[in-house]
């Protein structure tokens, strides 16, 4: 069997030259791997925030008629839990992998626009803080992550809360869009010779689909938010019901974005799992072309089903039928993915590492989310389910059972590549089982609570409604998830210092990134590889193996190899800061708007007119 050309050595070499560490180096970095790490660490921090919000919610609902937190604060909590987990946790965790993995998987030295990449990260960080900090002062957004108008318009939400939400999402949208342009270009244009589209690793493929969803879906929410912003600040009447506005305008715009957003959240996890399952089954992905096409099909159909979030609004029988059938159609490519994953494992030689357990966890749990999804693709049935806890159960099986499980699989799989050290398998085992049990205990009973009539987003409920047991179970489950997360963080930080040395390819995986030393040197590939196969390290020709041999050599610097790297620069961070200043001005003083605009224009010019890298000889 052909694995890596170079054996793992029990040393860990510095990824970066001395002098390139320290805070300033991180603030000015344009290296996709470092930016990936920044995304990962930031998103995990927000994961803690969103998790604490969730636990407070569960403490409140543990028993009937509890008032641990006030109604107002509860509404902020559930709004921010959803907003945080979607925009500040799952999307950026995916972005961490886009950043870290895509160039490595396609044989590139960096992304197409390294400085734009840094910009995306800083905008995300600042936007994340902008939208998160208000909760510590109990003035956080309180209109739900879906922010339905007219509730979010000034007459019904006069406070500053919704302002943070509208602007925070605008800021985060800038980050996502900039990153998406970057990755589309990277994948189209920076593939190594021989890396044809149909040889790309499945993670890169799913990411590719996601970037298109991002660039097509985010402008729609941008406009929806612009309307809301104008309504709230400049007195326009887009959602002003007194002026004859149609509240469904917001819902349509929001869900035209919102449904593709679901696939934006889950397809990267599908991609990660499609890397993990073959590796630990020692078999190539089953039905690669079908996996590609089904991913694309999910993305395309994802734009035609938004109104299934609106079956209760009274769209009429014809629209209901159309969106019901379109939604059911999506079940087909999704089902195919599940079958192909199982077929990848079948006849394999399955090794149950932590990563593999999480990947199998995704297959098992996402299936449940998929089945309940089909259950409310039927509008009449959905009328009993929508806005009840049944939906809460459903989308947590999709987003926790799907996205989060897949991302954990990816973290255990790729942390060795990022840091050069393995995470502990024993702790990982505890993490997985507690997550698996806690997750099911939290979310499975919600199916029952919902079908037994419990509406969503209620800050408390009365006793005698038949919901007490289910809520208690859910709350206990969420406490188990807290324990699981503590174990994960312990494992994660412990591995940075004390984890086993990984070597280039600890899992005997087959794709290009595993031909590189761990951690990956700044320049990624000493020589840009030529690719002749989907799994260069498994079934590659001599050409693949020769590139892998050269690229796995450790200890060389970019200067040794004569590789030109981009200059580090602080300018993207300053532009990002200018954006925050500008938006902050809208809720404080107009002076800041102009100051922010000036900062943006000035630093943008300075950025665009300065060269990316030293002149090429």
């Amino acid at each position: 069997m052909a694995t890596t050309a170079a054996p793992a050595r029990p040393t860990i070499h510095p990824t970066y030259e001395p002098g390139k560490s320290g805070v300033w180096a991180w603030l000015t970095t344009v290296d996709h791997k470092r930016i990936g790490m920044l995304y990962l660490m930031t998103a995990l921090s927000f994961f803690v925030v969103g998790g604490i919000e969730a636990v407070i919610i569960r403490i409140q609902l543990q028993a009937p008629n509890q008032h641990v937190v006030s109604a107002e604060f509860y509404n902020q909590l559930f709004t921010m839990h959803g907003t945080t987990m979607i925009f500040l946790v799952i999307m950026p965790l995916s972005a961490a992998f886009f950043n870290f993995l895509i160039p490595l998987q396609i044989g590139a030295r960096d992304v197409a626009f390294p400085r734009l990449n840094a910009f995306s990260y800083w905008v995300y960080l600042f936007g994340g803080l902008f939208i998160t900090l208000p909760i510590f002062f109990q003035v956080a957004p309180n209109g739900g992550w879906f922010g339905y108008a007219p509730l979010t318009t000034r007459p019904y939400s006069p406070g500053i809360n919704i302002d943070f939400w509208v602007m925070g999402l605008q800021i985060l949208g800038i980050s996502s869009l900039a990153a998406a342009f970057n990755f589309i270009t990277t994948i189209i244009n920076l593939r190594a010779p021989g890396m044809t589209l149909m040889r790309m690793p499945m993670f890169t493929w799913m990411s590719f689909v996601v970037q298109f969803l991002l660039i097509l879906a985010f402008p729609v929410i941008t406009i929806a938010l612009v309307f809301l912003l104008f309504d709230r600040f400049f007195g326009t009447q887009f959602y002003e019901v007194a002026a004859g506005a149609d509240p469904l305008l917001w819902q349509h715009l929001f869900w035209i974005f919102g449904h593709p957003e679901v696939y934006i959240l889950v397809l990267p996890a599908f991609g990660l799992v499609s890397e993990v399952l073959p590796t630990y089954s020692r078999k190539p992905l089953f039905g690669y072309p079908v996996m590609v096409y089904s991913g694309i099909l999910i993305g395309v159909l994802g734009f035609g089903v938004w109104a299934h979030h609106m079956f209760a609004v009274g769209m009429g029988a014809i629209a209901d039928s159309f969106f019901a059938l379109a939604t059911m159609l999506i079940g087909i490519p999704t089902g195919v993915k599940i079958f192909n994953w199982m077929a990848t494992m079948a006849q394999g030689s399955i090794r149950f590492t932590t990563s593999m357990k999480f990947a199998i966890g995704l297959v098992a749990l996402f299936t449940i989310g998929g089945i309940s999804g089909v259950m409310h693709s039927s509008p009449p049935a959905d009328l009993q389910q929508t806005d009840s806890y049944f939906i809460v159960a459903h989308f947590h099986y999709v987003l926790f059972g799907g996205s989060i499980m897949g991302i954990f699989a990816g973290i255990y799989h790729y942390v060795p590549k990022m840091t050069g050290r393995l995470m502990d398998e024993k702790l990982g085992n505890w993490h997985f089982w507690l997550t698996f049990i806690g997750m099911n205990l939290t979310f499975f009973p919600m199916h029952f609570a919902g079908m037994l009539g419990m509406p969503r987003r209620i800050y408390t409920y009365d006793s005698g409604q038949g919901w007490d047991t289910f809520n208690l179970m859910s709350s206990i489950g969420s406490y188990i998830l807290v324990v699981a997360s503590v174990i994960f963080f312990h494992n994660f930080f412990r591995s940075r210092k004390r984890g086993e040395i990984a070597g280039p390819n600890p899992w005997h995986a087959g794709t290009l990134e595993w031909s590189l030393p761990s951690p990956v040197p700044e320049y990624n590939f000493a020589t840009v590889p030529t690719v002749t196969s989907r799994y260069p390290l498994w079934e590659g020709s001599e050409v693949d193996l020769e590139s892998a041999r050269i690229n796995s050599q450790e200890g060389k610097t970019a200067a040794d190899l004569g590789i030109i790297l981009p200059y580090p620069t602080i300018k993207p961070l300053i532009v990002a800061a200018g954006i925050i200043v500008m938006f902050t001005g809208l809720i404080t003083t107009k002076v800041l708007v102009f100051l922010g605009a000036a900062i943006i224009v000035g630093s943008l010019y300075s950025w665009l007119l300065s060269p990316l890298e030293p002149e090429h000889h």
Binding site: V336, I350, Q384, D462, G464
Partner: protein, 454 residues
């Protein structure tokens, strides 16, 4: 392997647990269950649900079973041989693309059929009810009868009812789980939902909810639906369409006064002592406060339950208060910071005067009281006939009502109904009520007045 056997155990337990839960869910311990519909609309949905559940369970068992089989069968053994490097199999892949498509066909066809049957135009002769969503209460109008009520609907069994849904402010959603699916109540838009409560039902009460997040007190936007026999409905409606019977009963002098229970200490926080603190009217609306230390006078509704011919001027049919099941009685504890002086006697006639000169009339209508024509808050004409206050938040009893009038905003977050008690802290305005506040005696009088509006 260790993990797999553990998974097997876990899987079996999980499925057993799920089944146990599901079977349990069918019992009547679950007053809002959607599994036991009580209307033809509910049954249409339930038919689809049963099919979805059956197919879903089959798919679930097959996929998870296959997954577990694959995990056990193909786990890595000691001889770590490289498995066959298959890349795919077109025939198999086509088959498992077609299987889900085939299964979905069994869902799609009845789905579309049900969409068109349940959204068809309602049959002629249906009872029309206009539903108007407010933050955070429900206004119900029976245009046919000129009746306006709040947070309670009476429906005759066996007759189709057509709800016309409109919102006064933000989006709400109208949901009676046991009678069928929900429908959003959208501003600037009229939606309809119609259903026929089963004609074989005994008089019953159902919980209704707002299912669309609508702001601070979304959780407290509930309502009650009473499905009653047609003649009971006729009695109820006959009475509700007229002005309040206060005038008639007040002249007897019975309903006009309220006696005070023994004891005069300030009420402690919590429900248990609430009854002792509040003014008790001689004819309380049929239910006593949990843990109340006074026994209420016999409830008139007990008599009315069997009342088949409502006499003019006497209260019509009301669902017997003492027969209300636990799930239809609010159990919300009273916030600890709202208290009421013990030992006060309310006088309904005096209460009417206080009410008519206080802020109340700016928002509420009471037919028969020419001063009270506000249309911002619920219509209170037959307030005494209702079982809850605050849209299902609290029982409609003198003790709760007194606290409610004194400081509604402390009892239900962010509501429009202002804090009225003198020196009370208004949590919305974040100030104490100084000028124009009502003292406890005045509130006790208003309680006596309102409670007598049968």
């Amino acid at each position: 392997m260790r993990e797999t056997s553990r998974l097997r155990v876990l899987g079996t337990t999980g499925i057993a647990l799920a089944l146990a839960l599901f079977l349990g869910a069918c019992k009547q311990d679950y007053p809002n269950t959607t599994f036991v519909p009580h209307s033809e609309y509910g049954r249409e949905i339930d038919f689809l649900w049963d099919r979805l559940l059956l197919l879903g369970t089959i798919v679930f068992v097959l996929i998870e079973g296959a997954l577990i089989y694959v995990m056990i069968r193909y786990r890595r053994r000691e001889t770590d041989e490289r498995p066959p490097q298959t890349h795919g199999n077109v025939i198999i892949e086509v088959i498992w693309t077609l299987i889900p498509a085939f299964i979905l066909l069994f869902i799609a066809i009845p789905t579309v059929r049900t969409i068109f049957t349940t959204q068809a135009k309602v049959a002629a002769g249906a009872l029309q009810i206009e539903v108007i969503g407010h933050q955070w209460w429900w206004e119900f109008r029976y245009p046919e009868y000129g009746v306006t009520t709040a947070n309670e609907i009476y429906l005759p069994v066996g007759r189709t009812v057509n709800f016309k849904l409109n919102s006064n402010d933000v989006i709400h959603s109208f949901w009676i789980p046991q009678l069928g699916g929900k429908r959003d109540v959208v501003t600037n838009r009229t939606n309809y939902i119609w259903l026929t409560p089963d004609s074989t039902m005994q008089p019953s009460v159902w919980n209704g909810f707002c299912a669309e997040y609508c702001g601070a007190s979304h959780a407290k936007m509930k309502f009650r639906v009473f499905t009653v026999k047609p003649d009971q409905f006729a009695s109820w409606v006959e009475h509700q369409r007229g002005p309040a019977v206060f005038g008639a009963t007040a002249s007897t002098g019975a309903a006009g006064t309220a006696t005070t229970p023994a004891g005069g200490q300030p009420r402690e926080s919590g429900v248990t002592s609430a009854g002792g603190a509040a003014p008790a009217v001689p004819r309380p609306p049929g239910s006593t406060i949990p843990g109340a230390d006074t026994v209420a006078a016999p409830a008139p509704n007990a008599v009315l339950a069997g009342n088949r011919q409502p006499a003019a001027g006497s209260p019509g049919y009301i669902y017997p208060r003492e027969q209300l099941p636990e799930y239809a009685k609010p159990h919300t504890p009273i916030p600890g910071n709202v208290t009421f002086t013990k030992g006060l006697t309310g006088n309904a006639a005096r209460g009417q005067q206080v009410y008519s000169s206080a802020a109340c009339i700016g928002c509420h209508t009471i037919a028969g009281n020419p001063m009270s024509v506000g249309n911002v808050g619920p219509n209170l004409t037959h307030f005494g006939s209702r079982s809850t206050i605050g849209a299902g938040s609290f029982p409609n009893s003198p003790a709760y009502l007194a606290l409610w009038i004194k400081n509604a905003r402390a009892m239900k977050p962010d509501i429009l109904m202002p804090t009225l008690g003198k020196n009370e802290y208004d949590p919305v305005l974040k100030t104490r009520v100084t000028t124009g506040g009502l003292d406890d005696q005045q509130i006790a009088d208003i309680v006596a007045y309102l409670s007598s509006l049968k």
